[in-house]
Symmetry: C2
Amino acid sequence: MQRVERNPQDFGRVLSSMCTRPHPAARDAAERFLATNPGDPGTYETVASLERRAVDLLGGVVGLPDVAGYVASGGTEANIQAVRIARNRFETDTRTPNVVVPQHAHFSFWKAADVLGVELRTAPLSDYTANLEAVKEQIDEDTVAVVGVAGSTEYGRVDDIPALADLADDVGALCHVDAAWGGFVLPFTSFDWNFASADIDTMTIDPHKLGQAAVPAGGLLARGPELLDELAIDTPYLESTSQVTLTGTRSGAGVASAVAAMEALWPDGYREQYYESQADAEWLTAKLRARGFDVVPPVLPIVAADMPDRLMDTLRDRGWRLSRTGRDEARVVLMPHVDRAMLREFVDDIDEVFAEFDIGR
Amino acid sequence: MQRVERNPQDFGRVLSSMCTRPHPAARDAAERFLATNPGDPGTYETVASLERRAVDLLGGVVGLPDVAGYVASGGTEANIQAVRIARNRFETDTRTPNVVVPQHAHFSFWKAADVLGVELRTAPLSDYTANLEAVKEQIDEDTVAVVGVAGSTEYGRVDDIPALADLADDVGALCHVDAAWGGFVLPFTSFDWNFASADIDTMTIDPHKLGQAAVPAGGLLARGPELLDELAIDTPYLESTSQVTLTGTRSGAGVASAVAAMEALWPDGYREQYYESQADAEWLTAKLRARGFDVVPPVLPIVAADMPDRLMDTLRDRGWRLSRTGRDEARVVLMPHVDRAMLREFVDDIDEVFAEFDIGR
């Protein structure tokens, strides 16, 4: 094994990731199920039944008790599979199906378009969320899905999901909601985002992000099993007979840790964490504004601030893991491992850098 | 956590899986890297450098020291991605590209065809391997890839890879080798299967199968990085700028455990295990033949035997995990957790069932 100086699982200065330290119960479960494969449910029956439990628990989070779905490798797989469901329902071989996404959709939709051979149509935003008129203009008779984002990757913003679902319904398209990151905080907000509040068909929600499960544990959910049937491929030489997942062999660790995390944290643990993280986001916003930075108001626990390149580079040299938005802002994702003490240290470092280098703002 | 009666990681009677108990070093490494994400290499630098090490080690196994590639979620992803590389190199929008596979190709190629919108053409076998004339008949100017199987899922058979690579080359198609299962035993055989012995372009080889790594650790390898460039998608809001993988967030546990397993076992540990498993396969074949079963000769450590349904059902009731081939034979995969003692117990159980129920053969 290669020698490493820094503990690879040390989240002490990680502000850039949408993954986090797994909950202790999730870590234990992952270790117990490392050598299992839910992709072969006939052989690995225990983890297969845990996967059904995971989907049931996710149903509670998203407001649809009998939701269909499976534990995917992550949000990218779930988004690809949702687009694949929509594409496979489309009847013609001669026209190219299209999917309409608001501009802030995750890059996995571009990957889905390349993989699946669909046209991706993007609609501009207004005030960081989907502009409904712009979305409507992109929709036509070859539209197979309209995507809504519930917790955008850059700014944590939530589209008007019920309105997008109605636009999809008008042309017989599916409505897919990408709540990969936001799904475990949105239940504690007033947003209309889930299966109970809008006529949506499929959803991405990742236990290994704010759900505090171990990687890999994403989630693809569907209003009914017939939607998943669009994905079925025959599986000879397994004890089961067909498979709807994109991957074959899958991680039992992810499945078991998702169940353990949700059993430990839903709903009270997630609620408390959300209140704490949101308060921290607002605290950080105030501190950064007091230092002259432009900050995008955090409606969910993500803070984006306009910082000079030289400052960002120096902070990175000091070990802070920071990523950028498409407009080059510094982006801080307030995952559960990011607490007030860590943020104080971050702000102190900014002050020190300013003092040392006299960087203008 | 749900109560389970049987240890979910107990491989004591598992004869059906192509996964196995991870090597102890692989398990340790997986646990140390559970909370890392090689899909975000800017943030998780240590596991990103381990992934480069994993690919270098795989290069040693497949006879191409500077091989390109990445650690995938498994063989299905790697096969899908190989077909995607081939499809994306194809120039036209108006014709449907096709991929030619011998009939014994893994079901993931059918999944790849559905996902990627390519035509899958299957060629019949002769003596359990690709019939080269039949493959040649399927190839035309729209063929983008010809697939060879190096260790088939049902019978562990190896196609004539150099000949298939030549057929691909004749029409400018890529040659992909699926060595997902066989890749860690084939180096100790006389088969021509790898980058050194044939003009192949891409390969699937899974550390989490015979490589004894923890799930999920598959491998997609390519002769050069320009082949992987066909898969690149821009990645805003990560610290890196593009991504060639099919999934987004990925398992650091898989990557780290692949490195640990290969460092512990390549080549001596794998060689010894292969000799032992192959001897066991031949022992089991002899025992089954002595009891009147038709057994397909095992050229690699997989035994397929024609067993009556009632016998298979009774063995399953006794806890044996057995799967079937497409011709309904019982299939025993001699993974490292399957040892002579376990096989003796299996044969004893067969004898007991015969004695109890007087099942005819």
